[in-house]
Amino acid sequence: MLRPVAGDERCGLKFVMTLLETRSLSKYFGGLAAISQLDLDVCPLEILGLIGPNGAGKTTLFNVLNGFQKPNEGRVIFKGQDITGLKAHKIAQLGIGRAFQASTLFMRLTVFDNVFNGFHMNYKEGGWRSFLHTPRARKEERNIKQRVMEILEFMGLAESKDQLAQNLPYGHQKILGVCIALATEPTLLLLDEPLNGMNPEETSTVLDLLNKVREKGITILLVEHNIDAVMRICDRIVVLNHGKKIAEGLPREIGNNKEVIDAYLGADEEVDGIVS
């Protein structure tokens, strides 16, 4: 499906194929609109930043995109297919991966097992063969264990592979979350505040990693409060406030947008808190 994309220099085209699009998407909680009439386009291979003050509906949007919550109105279209209201596991199988805001991991498993569990969808052999432990299934399992190590090495967690997830430092837990999401081999990765609570050094490491992830052919939709980082890494930025899109464009355009600045100033500058 071709959509016009305003002033996108990087794509070099006026019309590109969108990977994910939402059309007049709305989600209400008891009369209160968490998202209202949202149109959003995500192009392939871009890193799209989603910013906005607390309560702007970013996390709700992720929950709707990933199937945790059903929208009240509107459509979600992924790779040309209508995925509105599908169950979360179905959407995951179609190729939308998600890394969570809070450290949602398998806390009592090792780092390795965390990522290993993430490979659930990527077995070619069925559960029956795996249950019988046939040679083919075991070979595939070895193969997958190798791929787990590849991901851990790629993300720089290989050394702590035998540690329990709950014993990891906070920053590493966040990266592990991304590792698990990568294990599902998604086309589109939803990242919920991966930089939350990190120092500048860790931040730049993660930003490098995200660039590397994109180079592997994975589109990233990023929610982040760290505006500097978003400006640095994102190809495009969408600004939400009260569930509505108030601005969309290149990082520097957004930086100068008066409405955006107002929205942020009006929101007490409190950007690190926990969004409901």
């Binding site: 990933n66 199937g67 945790f68 169950k87 979360a88 596991h89 179905k90 995951a92 199988q93 991966g97 998600r98 969570f100 949602t104 991991l105 398998f106 806390m107 009592r108 498993l109 290993f116 569990n117 993430g118 659930h120 969808m121 077995y123 559960g127 795996s130 249950f131 019988l132 432990h133 299934a137 399992e141 698990i180 999401a181 294990a183 599902t184």
Partner: protein, 320 residues
């Protein structure tokens, strides 16, 4: 290699148990223990997907009654009735499971409990199923060659075979991708969904497999015990089954039920000298075990390593 030696020695011990235990009464307890282990493992399997059932005894009952009815009404061999009863249990579990597996948490606990009550009521009310008095004179398993299944020893080897089959089957499941999916669901259902795991399907699968294993335990029970009556399969049996698993250690899906059932089956017999205060002792020990060993008996090794540390920092540490 030390573990392998221990394992082999243990295996020999189990195989030669009838030679060591001379008293048929002790063999009876061991046979009942094996049945209880299978039931507790079926509880543990559902727990491995994050579901807590208080209805395991219901599927045990279905297996027992199905097998009995097949053998006594259709005159088929026990060896055919055993798998047939297991399949019947599986079908009934599919029906109930597809209704209740969608609601995890406390709701599931209450629902399984009520299903247990419904099954017991049905068994008692329907005369065709024997009514409240149950069914008497259920034949022993048909003889295979010289093995007649009259003696406790033969029954022991049969239930041992079923138990080992269950253990191997469950172990294979837990170590396969299915088991990993279950573990993901139990540890974090939200995250598991984003990994593409269909919670409903995997939980239903666990529900059916757990019920089927309870079903063959039931089939064996009916033919070993010779009589069945609805009261045996009441909710309180299900609660006991749950306790077996908790006592052994919930994080040990196979060893936990074995250890827990071992204690809870043999302890009341051991305390029989207490006559009417036996349940008070059993209940008290249960409460103490739960409080002081919340990780189950199998967590003792972890706990023991605490003791030296405890003595060390007895003066320094003040963290509440």
């Amino acid at each position: 290699m030390k573990e392998v030696t221990v394992f082999i020695l243990f295996g020999i011990l189990i195989l030669l148990l009838p030679l060591i235990l001379k008293s048929p009464y002790q063999m009876h307890l061991i046979i009942m223990l094996c049945i209880n282990i299978i039931l507790a493992m079926s509880f543990a399997m559902l727990f491995s997907t994050g579901l807590i059932t208080i209805g395991a005894a219901a599927f045990w009952a279905v297996g027992a009654y199905a097998s009995t009815l097949f053998v006594m009404n259709l005159n088929i061999s026990f060896w055919l009735a055993l798998p047939l009863a297991s399949v019947t249990t599986g079908v009934i579990a599919l029906v109930f499971g597809s209704i209740i597996v969608r609601t995890p948490g406390v709701a599931f606990v209450v629902q399984t409990m009520v299903i247990n009550m419904i099954v017991v009521q049905a068994l008692g009310q329907i005369d065709f199923l024997g009514g409240w008095g149950g069914i008497l004179g259920i034949p022993r398993p048909n003889p295979i060659g010289p093995i007649k299944f009259v003696s406790k020893t033969h029954s022991y080897y049969l239930i041992l075979f079923l138990l080992l089959l269950t253990i191997v089957l469950f172990y294979a499941l837990y170590s396969s991708r299915i088991g990993r999916a279950w573990r993901s669901i139990r540890l974090n259902p939200r995250l598991a969904q984003t990994l593409g795991i269909n919670l409903f399907r995997y939980r239903l699968l666990a529900f059916i497999i757990a019920s089927v294993s309870a079903g063959w335990a039931g089939s064996f029970y009916a033919h070993y015990f010779g009589t069945i009556e609805p009261g045996t399969f009441s909710v309180f049996k299900s609660i006991y089954i749950q306790i077996y698993s908790i006592l052994g250690g919930l994080n040990f899906y196979i060893m936990g039920p074995i250890v827990g059932a071992f204690i809870m089956t043999l302890m009341p017999e051991f305390l029989r000298v207490g006559k009417e205060i036996e349940p008070i002792l059993t209940g008290g020990i249960l409460v103490l075990l739960v409080i002081f060993l919340p990780g189950g008996i199998l967590s003792i090794p972890e706990r023991i390593s605490f003791f030296p540390k405890m003595l060390q920092d007895a003066s320094s540490s003040s963290r509440g």
